[in-house]
C-alpha cells in the first residue's frame, strides 16, 4: 500500500532529518573547538629524527599547547596562536610580543618549538625570565599552565 510507505517515509524522514541537523551542528561546534589545534601542529625540523615520530614526547596528557595567553600585565587576556614560528619577547619593535615594561630588555626572551615542545630561552636580559618561579638560565621546556614571568607580564601556554 503506497500510502503507508509515504506515511512512514514522512514520519521517519522528519526524525532522521532532525537528528542529522543536530549532528551537523555538533560537527560545526567540534570543528570550531579543534580547528585551531589542528593548524598549530608543530612541524618537525627536516633531517632530525625523533623516536616518537613527531608526537610530543612529554606533552601533558597528550595535549599540545595551541596558544600563548597573557594572564597578567598590561596585555592581560591577549591570546597568541602558536604556529611554527619562534615567538620573541622584548621592547624591540620587531618582537612578536612588544613589552613596553621598564623591567623588560630590548631582546628579552624567546619561545621556540622543538619536537612538539616549546623551549623558553632567556636572551641575556637584565632582569631575567622566570618559569614556574625559577630563573631561566638555560633553554627550558614549558609545560601547559606553567607561568612564564617577564617583568610585570605573566604568560601561560594553553592547549
Amino acid at each position: 500500500m503506497p500510502d503507508a510507505i509515504v506515511l512512514a517515509a514522512a514520519r521517519f524522514g522528519f526524525l532522521i532529518l532532525l537528528w542529522v541537523f543536530v549532528f551537523a551542528v555538533v560537527g560545526v561546534m567540534r570543528r570550531d573547538i579543534f580547528g585551531a589545534r589542528q593548524s598549530s601542529l608543530v612541524a618537525v625540523p627536516r633531517g632530525v629524527k625523533f623516536p616518537s615520530s613527531g608526537k610530543p614526547a612529554k606533552a601533558k596528557r597528550g595535549k599540545t599547547p595551541s596558544q600563548l595567553v597573557i594572564v597578567e600585565g598590561a596585555l592581560a587576556g591577549t591570546r597568541i596562536p602558536l604556529k611554527e614560528n619562534v615567538i620573541t619577547f622584548g621592547r624591540a619593535e620587531d618582537s612578536t610580543v612588544v613589552l613596553s615594561d621598564d623591567y623588560a630588555s630590548t631582546r628579552h626572551a624567546q619561545l621556540a618549538p622543538r619536537a612538539g615542545q616549546w623551549l623558553l630561552e632567556d636572551l641575556g636580559s637584565t632582569n631575567g625570565t622566570y618559569l614556574d618561579g625559577a630563573k631561566v638560565t638555560e633553554p627550558a621546556c614549558v609545560s601547559i599552565g606553567a607561568p612564564i614571568r617577564i617583568g610585570r607580564t605573566v604568560f601561560e601556554l594553553r592547549s
Binding site: L15, L17, W19, V20, F21, V25, M29, L75, K83, V98
Partner: protein, 475 residues
C-alpha cells in the same frame, strides 16, 4: 599608564579568523528543509495527498530566518554560527505544530483546507515577524553589550515594575485562568513578565559585578563551607521575598520559581561559593513549604502532581492527557499529524506543546528538540567564558541558564517530574510575548558571542586600571 603595543606575528591570521557566516546560512537552509518535510508529513497524515501549497508555511518561516541571518551578517559578523539555526529550528517546529493543531486530527474533526492563513499557527507566524523586527532592533541598538551595564538600576526597576504591573491592574484585564500575569488591551494580550526576565537578568549581572567581592570575600567558615555574613544576605533574601510576592499577588508558580533560580545561579557564578547554592536551596525549601501550607492553589498543584489519576476527568485532566499523549507517542511517535493532541483542549499549543510534540514525534523527536536547547545554552556559556568583561560573563551565563531552567520547569511539569507550573516553552509554545522576548534573548546571546569571538585587534580595549601607574600632574 603603561602603554604596551602588541605586534602579533600572526596578526593576519587573527584578523581572518573564520566568521562561519556561510555555515550559519547552510544550517538555516537545512532548517527550511526540515520544516518542509515536517509540514509535508502533517498534510500527508491528515489528507493522504500533498499539493505544492504545503511549502508556503516553511518558506514564510524560512524567509523570516534569512532576514535574521542577514541582520547577523551586518551587526554581529563574528557571532557563533550555531545559535541562530538551533533557535530557528525549535521555533519552526513550534509554529508548524501550532498550525498542525488547528487542522484537527485523523479520527476527529478534520479541516479540509490547510491554508496557512488560519488559526493560531498564522497568528504565531505574524508574531514571528514581530520577533524578527525586535531581534534586529536589539542587535542594532545594543552594539556593545557593556552599554547595558550602564542601565543596571533602571533595568532592575523596569523589571520589577513589569513583574508587578499585572498584579496592580484589575483582574478583568490581567487574570486568565487564575494567573494574574497578563495585560489585555483590546484584542492584544501581552505577558510583561516575559520581558521582565530580560531586564532582571541585566540588573542581576550588573549588580553582582559591583557587589561580588563583598559577597565572596567576607565570610565565616562553618563545617568546611564558607558562609557569608548575615548582613550580606540582604540581596538574596530580597530576591526571595520578591519571588514570594509574585506568587502571592499573581498566583504564578513558574515565574517566581524561575526568577529565584536565575538569581541564585548567577550569584553562584559570580562568587564561586557553594554556600550560596545551599542557602538558595534552603530558602527555596522554606518558601515551598510556606506556599504549600498558605495557598490552596499550590496545595492543589502538588496534590495533582502526586495523585494525577485520583480525579482524571477534572483536576488531573491536563496532566493525565499529557501523560497519555507522551505514552502514545512512545519511542518514535505516531507521526506528525497522526496523533490526537487536541484532547488537551486549548492548552495543547501553549503549556502542553511539549506533550503535543512528544506524542507525534516520540521520545526521539523530543530528545532532538531538547538537544537543540542544550546546544544553545552550551554555546551561550562558551561565549560567556570567552568574553572578556565580568558583566558579559555573568549576563551570558544568566541568559543561558534562564533558558534551560525554563525548559526544565515546563518539561518537568508536563512529564510529571515536578509539579506542573504554567510557563511557556521558549520559542516552541504559542504566545506572542514569549516569542518576541525569547528572540530578544537569542539576540543578546548572539551579541555576546560576537564580542567573545572577535579577534583582539578589533575589540575595544578593556580598561585595565589595576595595572595603571599613578601619574602626578603638577600645576
Amino acid at each position: 599608564m603603561s602603554t604596551a603595543a602588541l605586534a602579533v606575528a600572526s596578526q593576519g591570521a587573527a584578523r581572518d579568523r573564520p566568521r562561519h557566516r556561510n555555515t550559519e546560512l547552510l544550517l538555516l537552509l537545512g532548517v527550511i528543509g526540515v520544516a518542509t518535510v515536517l509540514a509535508a508529513a502533517v498534510v500527508v497524515a491528515l489528507h493522504a495527498n500533498i499539493t505544492l501549497d504545503v511549502v508556503y508555511l516553511p518558506l514564510s518561516i524560512g524567509a523570516a530566518f534569512l532576514v535574521l541571518h542577514i541582520a547577523v551578517r551586518f551587526f554581529a559578523p563574528y557571532a557563533d554560527p550555531v545559535i541562530l539555526p538551533c533557535a530557528a529550528l525549535i521555533n519552526t517546529i513550534g509554529i508548524t505544530f501550532i498550525w498542525r493543531l488547528s487542522l484537527g486530527s485523523v479520527t476527529g474533526n478534520r479541516r479540509t483546507d490547510f491554508s496557512i492563513f488560519t488559526g493560531q499557527g498564522f497568528r504565531q507566524l505574524l508574531w514571528l515577524f514581530c520577533a524578527t523586527a525586535a531581534f534586529i532592533a536589539v542587535l542594532w541598538v545594543v552594539r556593545d553589550h557593556r552599554t547595558l551595564a550602564r542601565f543596571s538600576y533602571t533595568a532592575g526597576f523596569l523589571g520589577v515594575a513589569l513583574v508587578m504591573l499585572p498584579a496592580m491592574l484589575p483582574s478583568s484585564i490581567s487574570e486568565v485562568n487564575g494567573a494574574k500575569i497578563w495585560v489585555r488591551l483590546g484584542g492584544l494580550s501581552v505577558q510583561p513578565g516575559e520581558f521582565a526576565k530580560l531586564a532582571l537578568l541585566v540588573f542581576f549581572a550588573s549588580y553582582l559585578v559591583a557587589k561580588r567581592d563583598v559577597l565572596s570575600l567576607a565570610s565565616k567558615r562553618f563545617m568546611g563551607i564558607d558562609f557569608p555574613r548575615g548582613r550580606d544576605l540582604g540581596p538574596v533574601v530580597a530576591a526571595w521575598a520578591v519571588s514570594l510576592l509574585v506568587l502571592v499577588f499573581e498566583s504564578d508558580l513558574g515565574t517566581s520559581l524561575m526568577y529565584f533560580g536565575i538569581f541564585i545561579s548567577m550569584l553562584y557564578v559570580a562568587t564561586e561559593r557553594t554556600s550560596w547554592l545551599l542557602i538558595g536551596l534552603g530558602l527555596f525549601g522554606a518558601g515551598a513549604v510556606l506556599a504549600w501550607t498558605a495557598f490552596s492553589r499550590v496545595h492543589l498543584r502538588v496534590d495533582i502532581w502526586l495523585h494525577p489519576f485520583h480525579d482524571p476527568n477534572a483536576s488531573g485532566f491536563q496532566i493525565v492527557q499529557s501523560l497519555f499523549g507522551l505514552g502514545t507517542g512512545g519511542l518514535f511517535g505516531t507521526g506528525p499529524g497522526a496523533g490526537n493532541p487536541e484532547s488537551l483542549n486549548q492548552y495543547a499549543s501553549s503549556d502542553f506543546i511539549v506533550a503535543t510534540v512528544g506524542e507525534e514525534v516520540g521520545l526521539f523527536g523530543l530528545a532532538g528538540v531538547l538537544m537543540l536547547y542544550l546546544i544553545i545554552a552550551q554555546r551561550g556559556i562558551r561565549s560567556s567564558l570567552d568574553v572578556r568583561d565580568s558583566f558579559g560573563k555573568l549576563l551570558g551565563a544568566g541568559l543561558s541558564f534562564s533558558l534551560v531552567l525554563q525548559v526544565f520547569v515546563i518539561v518537568g511539569g508536563v512529564s510529571k517530574l515536578i509539579p506542573l507550573t504554567g510557563l511557556t516553552t521558549p520559542l516552541l509554545s504559542y504566545g506572542g510575548s514569549s516569542l518576541v522576548a525569547n528572540w530578544c534573548l537569542i539576540a543578546l546571546l548572539i551579541r555576546l558571542s560576537d564580542s567573545a569571538r572577535k579577534p583582539p585587534g578589533q575589540r575595544p580595549a578593556v580598561l585595565q586600571l589595576r595595572h595603571a601607574l599613578t601619574e602626578v600632574i603638577s600645576r
